[in-house]
Symmetry: C2
């Protein structure tokens, strides 16, 4: 008998996060929702830190309203979110009552499945949010951040899986944000987890496509007993994104495994996003092929495109390769953290600093905190010289307790700060928005009434390539008609035509 393999569709969250810098506007997703709802997915991932951030930072869109809309548009679907454990959707640890409030509000606004992870796989950092999810009667998925290092062995991952199950997680997820999970390790890891945690314990597998091998890894994970895999509809797949949903479905034909996805609906979803994609051309990742160098640098898909655009903004686009090569060094110094938000940003930014200014000449505040234990514990020892450097620079102590234990109750304080902001509606949701992104929320609250912005552009309205200059016409007399010039722009000479305004 053929085993049904469940599928989580990523198009509404991780696919556009990885491929178009999380810029997709809600109105570009709405028309596909009916088909997504009825295609037969196990769950639809649609919310997370970057989508929340992008909503208020770029799209002038209320992320809570987006969630409520999804709830209405996807009545038959499990809505799924990615939650950064004690970090929630932000970049720091929150005190426990904020965690409780956040999970409660996400649940009451419609979230069903909470994929909870900690960037360091520190069990202490996921406990509070898992407990809150259970209390809300929702599905708590405990997440193992997959990475490769001398210390990340199958037994080490299995031990963490067992801790997650013991904590009450309803399912487990192997999260391979950097496409490092090769077929044989995928097989062995799923097999070992199933053996240790019982075959009834659901195992989900999330992989990116960046290195080109991970559809094979999904096949092997399925053969080892995985219950659900994550994919994205083909028109917004591959590169730093994910394996195509349709390919996964076709791949299984005759294997003893099958999905129950509706092929016609998948086609319609594909066609919809194929139409949307060109409108976000300016945000699309330059990477469309595979990049096996990532097996060395270990940087997750979503991070590469962010790093690319950060370096370009600093006029250092040519340094990308050097930075990618520095990342493994920084990682070793930090005790081999997996690279996922926020550790990917912290390690990545320190790698940028090391390349631009010399090794550890400047420590970012976040990197210093990581070295001092303020994000939790890492699997390996941290480099003592850099820990001392961090302590000296920040005048902070090294800690070994659960980081959130150092925090004082903060809900009431956050609440009064949020309520003082112009445009804040006084809801707990608004307080949470402020708590997650205190730098961005004030402006968002004040402009929210203007409505959401769509950053997609009609590609047919993009400026056309300049025609070749009409030779010999320039300089003959007063400029009354279109004339050709040579223009020096950022040091490059370009021939252009100029017409009277």
């Amino acid at each position: 008998m053929s085993k049904k393999i469940d599928v989580t569709e990523l198009i509404l969250r991780d696919a556009h996060q990885s491929l178009m810098a999380t810029r997709m506007a809600m109105e570009d997703m709405v028309p596909a929702c009916e088909n997504i709802d009825k295609a037969g997915y196990w769950s639809v991932e649609c919310w997370g830190g970057a989508t929340f951030d992008s909503c208020i930072r770029f799209l002038n869109e209320d992320p809570w309203e987006r969630l409520r809309q999804f709830r209405k548009l996807l009545p038959n679907s499990r809505l799924q979110m990615l939650l950064r454990g004690q970090n929630l959707l932000g970049y720091r640890h929150y005190e426990d009552t904020v965690v409780d409030h956040f999970v409660e509000k996400a649940a009451s606004n419609g979230m069903d499945v909470f994929r909870v992870f900690d960037a360091l796989n520190d069990i202490r950092n996921v406990r509070r949010s898992v407990q809150a999810v259970k209390r809300a009667g929702k599905h708590a998925q405990g997440t193992i951040c997959y990475t490769v290092s001398p210390l990340h062995t199958v037994p080490a991952f299995v031990e963490f899986a067992e801790q997650l199950v013991e904590m009450g997680c309803d399912s487990l997820c192997i999260k391979d944000m950097a496409a490092l999970l090769k077929p044989q390790p995928a097989y062995e890891l799923v097999k070992a987890i199933k053996a240790a945690c019982g075959k009834e314990m659901r195992v989900h597998v999330h992989v990116h496509a960046t290195t080109g091998v991970t559809l094979v890894s999904l096949m092997k994970a399925i053969e080892a007993g995985a219950d659900c895999v994550d994919t994205a509809i083909s028109s917004l797949s591959l590169g730093p994104g994910h394996n195509p949903t349709e390919s996964l479905a076709e791949m299984l034909q005759g294997t003893g495994y099958h999905t129950e996805l509706d092929k016609e609906r998948l086609r319609k979803i594909k066609e919809h996003f194929a139409g949307v994609r060109p409108r976000y051309k300016e945000f699309l990742s330059d990477i469309t092929g595979v990049e096996t160098d990532i097996f060395d640098s270990q940087i997750p898909g979503g991070m590469i495109s962010n790093m690319e655009s950060q370096l370009k903004q600093q006029g250092a686009g040519d340094k990308l390769k050097a930075v990618l090569e520095e990342v493994p060094n920084v990682r070793k110094v930090a005790g081999y953290p997996p690279l996922v938000t926020p550790s990917s940003q912290i390690v990545g930014t320190q790698a940028v600093f090391n390349v631009m200014m010399g090794d550890y000449k400047v420590l970012t505040g976040e990197f210093a905190d990581l070295m001092l234990g303020y994000y939790g514990t890492t699997i390996g020892p941290r480099d003592q010289k850099i820990v001392e450097l961090a302590a000296n620079q920040t005048k902070k102590d090294r800690i070994t307790c659960r980081p959130a234990d150092t925090l004082k109750p903060e809900w009431e304080g956050l609440r009064s700060m949020a309520l003082a902001l112009k445009g804040c509606d006084g809801s707990d949701e608004d307080v949470l928005t402020y708590a997650m992104f205190p730098q961005v929320a004030p402006k968002f609250f004040s402009t929210r009434h203007e409505g959401s912005k769509n950053l997609g552009k009609d590609p047919s309205k993009a400026p056309a390539p300049a025609p070749a200059p009409a030779s010999g016409d320039a300089g003959k007399g007063p400029v009354q008609t279109t004339v050709a010039y040579e223009i020096k722009l950022n040091g490059k000479t370009t021939k252009v035509t100029v017409s009277p305004a």
Copy 2:
């Protein structure tokens, strides 16, 4: 013990044929040859019908000279070519002595491995060339064109494989030009062939990447006992092309299989072609992602990009989808031929005619010949009504014999026609060039002395987007010196200097 998996590198033939319309100039390949030669490939595919055609049609390059150059540049490598059986590198059947001459000359100019196929899997159409390869002391690889139809069962393919082995082939190839080979059928087919032909009989697997599933199929083929798989270096892979060589190598880690490819050399080959690729932008396939609709249309990767550009030239780019949908119908009428050169072109062009002018209102000469048996026999019966239509239109009889048996000796005739052409050097190679492409060879012979053309273009010399006119400043008077302006470009204000051209 881990089994070594051999790899055939496709970058010098099928990769640029499938992704950039076969336009790559020899000089863009030369710098990578040393690394290719030393990377540890089983063979390097570098020659075939489209490369030969493109050389004389577009690149003013002698394909025989290209072969001799490869022989010098790749002294340690098996050079491999794709040979269309009795069609050689052309689009019609040749009389047997032409086949003998061609194979002999290809061998004496440096070819080692001849992958011989017939588009219809008609064993009678490959016999003469396989015999010629054996006589030349070279490696004859018998090829099974893979396709999907109600009649293309594993036993049917195995029967054909046995005929190829019986004929004396040194190895077998499963050739999946349309990326239709799914993992489980790949496993079953390789297993069955090995069982029937003996496990010492080498099985090579050639797949395209178009549908996104075929790296998994390679994994399964390897598990079933395949000896060698075809891949292309990552910077010119995927889409209608092939799976990335580096991903194949990484995928196998820990599986009990391994390649012995040199990772550092692969990186250098990748970087070289990553640099070449943008120069051929105008020829690059629009398709970069996966297309699972091909499981229905069954059109091979190389063919889609050709069809796209043909339809665009006729101003009917919007008809691509309708044509793709018509192809399976035409295929059924023709008795389910696999779709590969020339059957893909014949079926594809008839599908275009059916869509543009109505079903079978006009039959192409080639399609009529296919229906009447002039390309050989198909696995299924052909539609009798259309066979009659073909007979009436062409005033030709239906034949059932080996098509080449209807041909009269033609070598001397071809030779005297070739020698009469301006610029023909009188060599057998030139006669064969003329024989393959009688329409194109005359012009090539006459321009050969001008040397080869490189159609790649420096992307930095592409025209820049036109800036918006400088508001208010233009039209004030003659521009005689360099002046600074603020120019609004895509909504951003930029300071530039303007000089008379």
